[in-house]
């Protein structure tokens, strides 16, 4: 009993907790090798085979999802299209700079689609916009914490 008591007491030491946690997690991850894992190919927002678009010399590769800017929406397989009235319009939109870039070079698809409009914006700001609110809130909170600690405690100050 006293030995169990000692173990119980040791478990209450904060320094041991991350170690214990990672050990338990590691053991459970091992189960992943025994479970049949397979990718269900019927996914939301599927994308073409890797390198397919770029080898077909598509200037918008690898994020081309069709559509004509401001006229016709692109093709997007979202979960609830009925809740997103303008679905695909964001995907089909190219900002003027992006448009001119796409006409001059074949290999700048990533940049074109990172600039306003495009698939990632569709997902990040429209169909799954709430996620973006959260993730940038996480960043902001972490920054608030870090900068508060830094300004008040850890940074050297010249009074």
């Amino acid at each position: 009993m006293s030995r169990i008591g000692k173990i119980w007491n040791a478990l209450a030491n904060p320094k041991r907790i991350p170690r214990l946690y990672s050990l338990i997690l590691g053991i459970i991850l091992l189960a992943g090798f025994m479970i049949p894992l397979a990718l269900n190919d019927n996914q939301l927002y599927p994308r073409p085979t890797p390198q397919l678009q770029i080898s077909e010399q598509d200037p918008l590769a690898p994020y081309d999802r069709g559509g004509i800017p401001l006229i016709e929406p692109g093709i997007v397989k979202a979960q609830y299209p009925q809740f997103s009235e303008k679905i695909g319009f964001v995907t089909g939109y190219l900002s003027p700079i992006a448009w001119s870039v796409s006409n001059t070079t074949l290999y700048y698809g990533t940049s074109i689609y990172s600039s306003p409009g495009g698939l990632i914006d569709e997902i990040l700001y429209y169909t799954r916009g709430f996620d973006t609110v959260l993730e940038s809130s996480i960043l902001m909170m972490a920054f608030v914490i870090a900068s508060w600690v830094a300004l008040n405690f850890t940074m050297r100050r010249e009074e």
Partner: protein, 284 residues
């Protein structure tokens, strides 16, 4: 509305009397005469005519609101449970809130005893794991989370007490940990005066005691409903008296444990219970 009021009143009165009964039985086991059964109820009522005073160090609106919250959530539990037969998960959510309120009633006063009780309450949050395990096991067995459906499941298949006895045992440990003077009642151990209630006087203490009585009644009610099935009120009363008597026997004969040990003991019970229940579910 009248129904709710009725049930709340019943819960309060029966809970108080059960607490009194528990004290009486414990006293008799320890060869003392003990207070009358009605004592706990009188105690509660007494606080409503005492003067209320507030410590200077308290965190102000919070300190008062927290007692009201405790009352409100247990009234809500009565509404979910006996009145409407709603979701079991909801009752457990209420129980989780109860833990939080209990812990912050302690810390908001600024008293060192309350603080210790608060830290211990956080410790004992670890003991809520069996609670959630119980929920999952019940769901796996009966396939529903709604109390009225669980009752009808039991009328067909017999009480769950026989098919998942380990889950019932885990739940009983939880009930035990809520009983005053139990080996797991570290938040209200006499080494920290009255735990989280130390700095609550008058009206506030009255509210705390009312909600504790309702909580005790509700816990027993949930145990009887979920593991034995729908009973007539008389049988509920009998079951509650039996459970209270058992806890009284345990409490009277065991010492209070050290906080770490109390938690780890509960967690160990939980591990045995969970593993055992899963084995039982798989092979029987």
């Amino acid at each position: 509305m009248a129904n709710i009021l009725l049930n709340v009143l019943i819960a309060f009165l029966v809970g108080s009397i059960l607490f009194g009964l528990q004290r009486k039985i414990m006293a008799r086991i320890q060869m003392r005469p003990g207070p009358p059964i009605i004592q706990h109820l009188l105690h509660t009522l007494k606080f409503f005519i005492k003067e209320s005073s507030f410590p200077k160090t308290a965190a102000m609106p919070f300190y008062i609101a927290i007692t009201a919250m405790l009352c409100v959530i247990w009234v809500a539990a009565v509404i979910v449970g006996p009145v409407t037969g709603g979701s079991l998960l909801l009752i457990f959510a209420i129980y989780a809130l109860h833990k939080i309120v209990e812990h912050n009633a302690g810390s908001s006063s600024g008293s060192p005893y309350g603080k210790l009780s608060c830290v211990r309450a956080v410790f004992s949050a670890a003991a809520e794991v069996p609670l959630f395990a119980v929920l999952i096991i019940i769901y796996l067995k009966s396939g529903t989370m709604v109390i009225s459906n669980i009752i009808s499941y039991q009328t067909i298949h017999g009480p769950l007490l026989y098919s998942i006895p380990l889950a019932a045992a885990m739940f009983f440990v939880l009930i035990l940990s809520k009983a005053p003077y139990s080996p797991f009642a570290i938040t209200k151990g006499k080494d920290i005066v009255s735990g989280y209630e130390t700095e609550h006087f008058g009206l506030l203490r009255g509210y705390l005691m009312i909600s504790e009585s309702i909580a005790w009644y509700m816990l027993l009610w949930v145990f009887l409903t979920v593991f034995v099935g729908g009973l007539s009120p008389l049988w509920y009363l009998a079951g509650m008296i039996v459970l209270t008597t058992i806890t009284a026997f345990i409490n009277a004969t065991t010492p209070i444990l050290n906080p770490n040990h109390s938690i780890m003991m509960q967690v160990s019970f939980a591990v045995i219970g969970i593993v055992g229940s899963i084995v039982l579910l798989l092979y029987i």
